[in-house]
């Protein structure tokens, strides 16, 4: 092959042919796909607009500076409402600051992360190892409702304020791209991260494995933990979170556990029924609106006609009240409550008439 190529090169020594050969050779090393030129080149300004990430080695960090004082101003106007004046608030987000010490700044390990310390919240400053992370995130995602609205200098300022709260920098500090690497050397948990490759690499072996025992396996068979009774309804009524058909139902978790299987079944089957009835039931109040009844009748008091509650009161205890009212609604009438006649409502079905009349007789509630 080599000999042939050399021969060929000699033979096709015309410049144009050599160029054609070179192009061919390039093409075979990098076979051009027919879709390769779909899309277009990104313009430098476009890349600059989007490429805002800042790495732990500060690649991507724009030049700028901000003081703790300026940070205090920005913080109080744009950050404190969610995070608290001192970054301590647990109202909207977990606290940002707290739980770190001068000793941690020295060692780079936050002692409150050790077992048994039981510090109530793991704050951001307790966890984060890289100051670049904070700069990047404040810049890209804060303030919460207006992300990316801070100027570069104000991002430095807000970060300076946070670092001062955590006593990483003094109150008169001006954080900048020039000194941020020094700040990194004081981050309280800077040595607190382990890159654990077995859970990063798809081909890794996990650190916890079981064995596939099939018979008489060793188990402690102790009930390690169960949900306490008081938490039974913490997630609402699970019955309403399960299908109404099938081999199982959701338990009615808003009530204590039934004692027997029969009780359980009665309970869950019993509550399935109303759901069914509701779906087919007539919504009287919706009917009152859609048929313009409420244009003249108040729920309680007289408007043009009497309030529904007044009608209910008038016919309370009258045995044939429902039948009477069905007739009145269907055919209309005048004189009982004043001179203004009520038009008949022949468009209502018998079932709808009965539902409305029944609702009134039951007290119009």
């Amino acid at each position: 092959m080599k000999t042939m190529m050399m021969t060929a090169n000699k033979r096709f020594s015309h410049p144009l042919l050599v160029l054609a050969m070179a192009t061919f050779a390039l093409g075979s090393a990098h076979a051009k796909k027919p879709w390769e030129d779909i899309g277009r080149d990104a313009k430098p300004a476009e890349i600059a607009a989007w490429d805002i990430d800042v790495r732990p080695d500060f690649k991507g960090l724009p030049a700028g500076a901000g003081s703790v004082d300026r940070g205090t101003e920005v913080w109080e106007s744009k950050c404190a409402s969610c995070h608290g004046v001192f970054g301590e608030s647990n109202e909207v987000f977990t606290p940002l600051v707290g739980g770190t010490t001068a000793k941690d700044i020295e060692t780079g390990h936050v002692a409150n992360l050790l077992p048994g310390k039981n510090f109530p919240q793991r704050t951001t400053m307790m966890k984060v190892a890289t100051v670049s992370t904070l700069w990047d995130y404040i810049n890209r995602a804060m303030p919460w409702n207006a992300p990316k609205s801070l100027s570069t200098d104000d991002v430095y300022a807000v970060l300076a304020y946070l670092l001062n709260l955590a006593e990483v920098v003094p109150a008169d500090y001006v954080l900048s791209d020039k000194n941020i690497a020094d700040v990194q050397k004081r981050m309280p948990n800077r040595n607190g991260m382990t890159v654990y490759t077995p859970l990063w690499d798809v081909k890794g072996k996990g650190d916890v494995q079981n064995v596939a025992c099939m018979k008489n396996c060793v188990t402690e068979l102790t009930l390690g933990s169960s949900l306490p009774d008081f938490a039974r309804d913490a997630h609402g009524d699970i019955n309403k979170q399960n299908r109404i058909i099938g081999p199982v139902r959701g338990a009615v978790t808003t009530e204590p556990a039934p004692k027997t299987l029969n009780d359980s079944r009665a309970k869950v089957m019993g509550v399935a029924a109303p759901a069914k009835a509701e779906a087919g039931a007539i919504d009287v109040k919706a009917l009152l609106v859609s048929n313009s009844c409420t244009a003249c009748h108040g729920m309680k008091n007289k408007m043009v006609g009497p309030g529904f509650a007044e009608v209910a009161e008038k016919y309370k205890g009258q045995a044939d009240a429902k039948t009477y009212l069905i007739g009145k609604i269907k055919n209309g009438g005048a004189g009982v409550w004043g001179g203004i006649p009520m038009p008949g409502q022949p468009q209502l079905s018998d079932a709808e008439l009965a539902a409305i009349a029944g609702w009134i007789v039951d007290g119009a509630k």
């Binding site: 992360l113 995602a141 494995q209 099939m214 188990t219 699970i238 081999p247 079944r265 869950v268």
Partner: protein
């Protein structure tokens, strides 16, 4: 044959062997005792009395005991005797109104802001392996958007010969693939590291979904941009939402099966799931599947973004955090019957559940009904796909006594799903992320299923 005076129906013998499940019938107005009597009576009646030709004339309180048969059959309903609705009455079809109990739900108290929260997928009611798109779990970091796809742009920059910009038109012209993959949040089952905290599988395992995704392989696009293979070690994926979510992806993942996806279950992605473009990182925790994907940067170092330096880091017993824990290891859970469900009767049950692995496919699932002492191998329903949910089923006859159900999955690498105490022995109880423990469901004599930890 004795007659039950209260119900005015014939009494039969108690069943020696519990059979099947009971049929939901209009016994609902009966007391528990009446219900049970009616249930037995019906079986007895149908099995014996009817065969003997004995008719019971009395219209009893228990409609079910009507000798002619069940009203649901004998009285033809409106849908059998009337005219139904026309085509396109619902131009985009929705589930039956009877299914409204199954919906995405938040876990009360888990988060305080709905824009940075989670809604859980109702696994307890789903079949097979595909999650209906409208029930796909949600995790937003700064609220969701419905982005105009014609204005969406996707950029590749960093260690590439030519940084490129793509419109959706461009991307959708490229050679596409369609693949079924699960997505699981790294914090799924996280509240259970220390103890039982959640009542049902929706909340214990519901940050899990599985869809058919359609898109272009990231490797195809990176090749187009002339990736610098000598230097490139990582890519950064970035979203277009307010949080501009960023995550570092390993280069071997990026060049393997990572997809830039626009399609989900035959249609475009739903807005809550990243419309019009999201990253699909098979086997890797959901936070890396960046939604509203706007940019991929190729680099030579990891980025330590907020969601890999403050969150999604696993605290170990020595006080160190594990960073860049991405793989969702082999896991399984029984979805029927599961926490806070109630078994309706003794007898046969088809125990059904899901198994998955971020390292490959599911090789086997074993099920125990005695708290892990003895196991039998479940039936695997096809298809068995790499880094996808796999459905398993298991025959079981409940004798009415307390039982503890568990499932244990084994993946194609031979890895066996661990018990919670095995995980705790190594990783402690404060890890939050990557809890892939065997789940235990206790069946009590009253038929209720509850979440317990047994090992």
């Amino acid at each position: 044959m004795p007659i039950n005076q209260d119900l005015n129906i014939p009494m039969g013998n108690a069943l020696d062997q519990p059979i099947g499940r009971i049929i939901p019938a209009p016994e609902n107005h009966l007391s528990a005792d009446g219900l049970e009597t009616a249930r037995k009576a019906r079986r007895s009646f149908m099995g014996k009395a009817l065969a003997m030709g004995a008719g019971i004339a009395a219209a009893s309180k228990a409609a079910v005991a009507a000798p002619e048969g069940e009203e649901a059959i004998l009285k033809l309903p409106a849908h059998t005797t009337g005219l139904g609705q026309g085509v396109a009455a619902n131009a985009y079809g929705m589930p039956s109104k009877w299914e409204s109990n199954l919906m995405r739900r938040e876990s009360p108290g888990l988060t305080r802001v709905p824009q940075a929260s989670v809604s859980f997928c109702p696994l307890q009611g789903l079949f097979g392996i595909i999650t209906p798109s409208g029930l796909h779990f949600e995790r937003h970091h700064q609220g969701w958007w419905d982005i105009d796809p014609s204005q969406h742009r996707f950029m590749v920059n960093g260690l590439v010969k030519r940084p490129r910009v793509f419109t959706m038109d461009d991307l959708m012209r490229l050679p596409s693939v369609s693949r079924i993959h699960f997505i699981e949040c790294g914090a799924n089952t996280g509240p259970e590291w220390g103890n039982v905290a959640l009542p049902s599988v929706q909340y214990t395992h519901g940050m899990l979904s599985c869809s058919e995704f359609t898109g272009v392989l990231l490797s195809t696009v990176l090749e187009m941009c002339g990736i610098d293979k000598k230097k490139a070690r990582y890519v950064l994926a970035e979203g277009a939402d307010g949080s501009s979510m960023t995550r570092t992806i390993a280069m071997d993942r990026a060049m393997d099966d990572v997809m830039i996806a626009w399609g989900m279950n035959g249609e475009m992605l739903r807005p809550e799931n990243g419309y019009p473009l999201r990253l699909v990182v098979p086997g890797v925790q959901g936070v890396s599947w960046v939604k509203y994907l706007r940019r991929i940067e190729v680099g030579d170092q990891p980025y330590a973004t907020k969601d890999e330096a403050v969150h999604y880091i696993d605290l170990q017993p020595d006080g160190q955090h594990r960073q860049y824990t991405s793989i969702q290891e082999c896991k399984s859970v029984i979805t029927t019957p599961s926490g806070s469900q109630t078994l309706l009767d003794k007898g046969y049950y088809n125990i059904s559940g899901l198994a998955w692995s971020g390292r490959g496919s599911i090789k086997r699932v074993d099920v125990s009904v005695d708290g892990g002492r003895n196991w039998r191998t479940a039936r695997i329903e096809g298809p068995t796909l790499s880094k996808a949910l796999t459905r398993f089923n298991f025959d079981w006859v409940w004798d009415g006594k307390p039982a503890i159900l568990q499932s244990r999955a084994i993946d194609s690498t031979g890895y066996v799903q661990p018990k919670i105490n095995q995980l705790r022995a190594v990783r402690g109880t404060r890890s939050i992320y990557h809890n892939n423990a065997i789940q235990s469901w206790k069946i009590s004599e009253n038929g209720e299923v509850s979440n317990v930890q047994v090992y």
